[in-house]
Symmetry: D2
Subunit: 145 residues, 4 copies
């Protein structure tokens, strides 16, 4: 879990944002937003962020597949309202990219999360190394890159 | 199903609006928004509209319970984007109220729906007739009321 | 809503069954199963029943699309447990079929529902009348047929 | 991510099982089960496992709250069918417990996951250290304990 301490919790670290409205059915008997709904918020942020990057580097959205997710729940989220999911590209590896997310309302961070997506061939349904030029193009989106 | 033909499909008929953002996971293998997600959109609209009215007449949100829903799917909804759910009060009965909803993007209506909510006693978990003054207060919200 | 009074509430009326396990996240702050989850239960029953029939008459599952749904909530459903969704074919029309569902635990009926599915051409994404032999084949599945 | 390599992928390592039926709406445009639905499967397994343990040690289910989750997606899951979620207690800490899960069909492992739950006071909605006797009682459930 140590890796997660490196996911930014300050709003200023995120450059791409996806707003998500909270639904009544996102709540559970604890009267807060259930973690399954939070996963859906994060996915909306991930798809929004990935499409933003992938469009720029001409990578098909079905050219990656989700390999792993970590989620740290920092504070309870309450209905109704809207959250904003910030996304950043944290690493580009040989066969995968690592992205990080923060769920915010104003400057308050409620959830941080990290996703590893693996390059994927939709025909064979197996992972695949990307061409070097795609890797180079993606690296331009790295934090501080 | 005849009743549903009376649910307005023109934007101008609706006075209260709840925006709902579409999530990637709302989609199914048909690559459109699944009807289960549309039910969640409608519930967001229903809770938003009900809270708006109930606050005004001092009725607790747990003082009604959903008895029935009808949904007509007019057009496919696609990710990504935002829909707006319009709501109106169509009838106030002896033990229930009937509300109607339209899901729109701009002036295009994608879904119409009707809900019957029954007055409910959260202690006994049974339906209950409302006091006459509550019924009268609700009637002020009727279309053309 | 009158049509719904014709949806059977006795277990014996249903011949095809789909079991669905209840999930923690199906619950809402009322501490019962939320209506959005109930819609997912009904969809599982509808797809199970439709695949059962369609396989027999050689109709592709993407050859119909859901046009309307009505749901009557008779009793609250509680986590944890399993429900069984019973399905029957109620009518075969010129361009659509009407199916009916009951959600049960033992002999107790919690929800009844009716769905109209329209024959659909996945290429044009428009409704389409089925060939007469398909209509005749489907009619063999009608209640009392 | 290194911690996840310690989550068992062999069926024999798990002693408590929760079956979960796959729903049509769990699928996304990739025509496999979406990761949000997998999170709901894992939650069903976690609640089932936690209730099993907590009942034995007389801990209220609302006496813990989910602090973090990691999920590794090993293989795609397809509709229809049922998965089984196996659970084990991996660690008991000063203020938290760590549980691990595997999602299986037969002997094939599709997903592994780890959850950290923090002891929680529902009145103050803050984390709280458990009494020593509760900690000792929980430790009896540890793998090899």
């Amino acid at each position: 879990m140590a890796a997660n301490t490196t996911i930014p919790r300050d709003r200023g670290a995120y450059s791409f944002w996806t707003p998500v409205s909270i639904r009544y059915s996102d709540q559970d008997p604890m009267e807060h937003v259930n973690n399954v709904a939070i996963t859906a918020f994060l996915e909306s942020g991930r798809i929004g962020f990935a499409n933003h990057i992938f469009q720029d580097v001409d990578l098909h959205p079905k050219g990656v597949v989700l390999a792993s997710v970590t989620v740290d729940f920092l504070r309870e989220i309450s209905f109704p309202g809207t959250v904003e999911v910030g996304g950043i590209l944290a690493a580009v590896g040989e066969r995968s990219i690592t992205t990080q997310y923060g769920i915010f309302q104003g400057d308050t961070c409620y959830v941080v999360s990290q996703s590893v997506m693996v390059f994927f061939n939709p025909q064979t349904r197996r992972s695949a190394a990307p061409p070097p030029e795609l890797k180079a193009a993606l690296e331009r989106f790295l934090i501080g890159g």
